[in-house]
C-alpha cells in the first residue's frame, strides 16, 4: 500500500500530465463527431461577446465592400423581380399561394477561419432568434456552410472549408449530382466528386446545390468549374470548383430553414426502420 502511495507521489507530475493530455485528446476526438453537443465551442457567452465586441470595431473597415456587395445583390434581385413581373401575370393575389417552405434569417459573421483543415465560423444569432442546428448558411454569392452548434445568443457553423463537410451539389446544365468536399489546399477552391462520366462538363460551368438534402434549397449558387479530370476508375469526374464566395472575407450571411425538414426526415426514417 505504502509503495503505491509513494509511486503516486513520485510520479505526480507525470500522472497529472497524463490526465490533462487524455482530456484534451477526448475533446479533440469529440469535435470529429459532428452531431454531438460540444463542451468546447466558441458559441458560448464569454467568447461570443468578446468576438462580438471585436467585430463592432472591425466592421467599419469593411463597410465599403459590404455596401457594394449589397448593391450588387439588390440589382440582381431587382432583375429577378422584373423578370417575374414580365413572365407571370398574377391571376389572383393571394398570399397563401406563395410557398413558405423556406424561412430566411440574417446574421453577422463574428469569427471566420479558413486556414485550418476543419474550419468553423461563429455567428451573432442563436437559440433566442429561434435558430436550430442543421440550418444552411449562404451569402448573396453562394453557400458557406451548415450550423453545427447553437447557444443562447451565438452559433457556430461548419464551413464548406472543412474536411468533414459533404454537400449535395449538381452541374446546372446537365443536372448530374455529386458531392462537394474540400482538400484543404485553397480556401477558394472546393472539389466536386462522383459526377458520372456521362455529364458533359465544360470549364466555367455553374455548380449549384442539388436539393436532395433538407438543408439547402435547390439552385443555390456554389461556384464555377475550374478544371476536371476522370478519377482512377474512369467512371466519375473529379471537378475543381472555384467558389463564387470569397471565403476569406465574409460579413453578412443568410440562414435558410426548411420548414418541411422535420417531416421529410421523419418519413425517411420510418422507411429505413421498416427495412
Amino acid at each position: 500500500m505504502q509503495q503505491i502511495i509513494f509511486f503516486f507521489i513520485r510520479n505526480k507530475n507525470f500522472l497529472f500530465f497524463i490526465v490533462l493530455f487524455t482530456i484534451s485528446i477526448a475533446l479533440t476526438i469529440q469535435t470529429h463527431n459532428y452531431h454531438n453537443a460540444k463542451f468546447v465551442s466558441s458559441a458560448n457567452f464569454f467568447t461570443g461577446s468578446i468576438y462580438n465586441f471585436r467585430n463592432n470595431i472591425t466592421d467599419y473597415f469593411s463597410l465599403e465592400k459590404e455596401n457594394k456587395k449589397l448593391l450588387e445583390e439588390n440589382v440582381m434581385l431587382r432583375k429577378k423581380v422584373a423578370n417575374f413581373q414580365k413572365t407571370i401575370k398574377p391571376k389572383k393575389l393571394d398570399s397563401s399561394i406563395i410557398s413558405a417552405k423556406y424561412e430566411y434569417f440574417t446574421a453577422r459573421v463574428i469569427n471566420n477561419n479558413y486556414s485550418k483543415t476543419k474550419n468553423h465560423l461563429t455567428l451573432d444569432i442563436g437559440k433566442k432568434d429561434s435558430l436550430k442546428i442543421d440550418l444552411g448558411v449562404i451569402s448573396s454569392k453562394g453557400i458557406i456552410g451548415i450550423v453545427s452548434d447553437v447557444s443562447e445568443n451565438y452559433s457556430t457553423v461548419q464551413s464548406i472549408l472543412n474536411t468533414q463537410s459533404r454537400i449535395n451539389a449538381k452541374h446546372k446544365i446537365s443536372g448530374h449530382f455529386g458531392s462537394l468536399k474540400w482538400d484543404t489546399k485553397d480556401p477558394n477552391v472546393v472539389q466536386l466528386v462522383d459526377i458520372p462520366r456521362l455529364a458533359k462538363l465544360k470549364k466555367g460551368d455553374t455548380i449549384i446545390t442539388g436539393g436532395r438534402s433538407t438543408i439547402f434549397p435547390e439552385g443555390v449558387l456554389i461556384g464555377a468549374v475550374k478544371d476536371f479530370h476522370l478519377d482512377a476508375d474512369d467512371n466519375y469526374y473529379f471537378v475543381n470548383v472555384a467558389l463564387f464566395n470569397d471565403m476569406t472575407s465574409l460579413e453578412h450571411v443568410y440562414l435558410i430553414e426548411n420548414k418541411d425538414a422535420k417531416e421529410i426526415l421523419e418519413l425517411e426514417k420510418a422507411v429505413n426502420d421498416e427495412e
Binding site: 507530475n13 482530456i23 479533440t28 468546447v40 467568447t47 486556414s115
Partner: protein, 170 residues
C-alpha cells in the same frame, strides 16, 4: 519559490498572450496557412523555480483558452500540456544541469543554448498541434509543411519578443 512580482508578471502575460493570439496572430494566415503561435512564450518563460505541476496545469489552461476561441477541440491544450511536462528535460539538455541551481537566466543565456531550448519546444508543440488538428495520414506533407513554416515564424517572434523585453528590464 515564486516571488509576488513573478506571479503578477505571469498572470498579465497569460491573459495578454491569449488575446494577442486570438485577435491578431490567428488572423495573419501568411501564404494562406502559416500562423505564429506566440502564446507559447508563457510556457517558455515560466520561472525556472516555479512548480512543475502548476506549469502543466497552466499550460493546459492556456491551450484550452485558445481552443475555445478557435473551435478546435483540445488540440492546443494537448500540445501545451505536453511541452509544459517535457520542459524540465529540454532545459537540462539545452542549458546543462546547472539550471537547477538557479544560476541560469533564460534571457541571458548563450544564444545557441537559447536557440536549442526554444526551437525544440516550439517544434514539438507544433508537431503535436498539427498532427492532432489534421488527424489523418493522408495529409502528411501538409502536416510537415505547417509544422516547419509556422515553427520558424514562431521562433523568430519569440526571439524578437525576448529582445524587446530584456531591453526594458535591464
Amino acid at each position: 519559490m515564486m516571488k509576488n512580482n513573478d506571479i503578477f508578471i505571469n498572470s498579465v502575460r497569460f491573459i495578454f498572450l491569449i488575446f494577442l493570439q486570438v485577435f491578431l496572430l490567428n488572423n495573419i494566415n501568411l501564404f494562406g496557412y502559416i500562423n505564429p503561435y506566440l502564446y507559447l512564450f508563457f510556457i517558455l518563460m515560466f520561472p525556472l523555480d516555479g512548480s512543475k505541476g502548476l506549469l502543466i496545469f497552466l499550460g493546459f489552461l492556456l491551450g484550452l483558452s485558445i481552443d475555445i476561441f478557435e473551435d478546435s477541440g483540445g488540440v492546443h491544450a494537448a500540445a501545451c500540456a505536453f511541452i509544459a511536462y517535457i520542459r524540465p528535460v529540454v532545459l537540462k539538455y539545452s542549458f546543462g544541469v546547472s539550471y537547477q541551481y538557479n544560476s541560469v537566466k533564460i534571457k541571458k543565456a548563450d544564444i545557441m543554448e537559447r536557440f536549442t531550448y526554444i526551437s525544440s519546444l516550439v517544434l514539438m508543440h507544433h508537431l503535436i498541434l498539427f498532427s492532432l488538428e489534421i488527424f489523418s495520414f493522408k495529409h502528411m506533407l501538409l502536416l510537415l509543411k505547417s509544422t516547419l513554416f509556422s515553427g520558424i515564424f514562431t521562433i523568430i517572434l519569440v526571439f524578437c519578443t525576448m529582445i524587446l523585453f530584456t531591453k526594458k528590464s535591464s
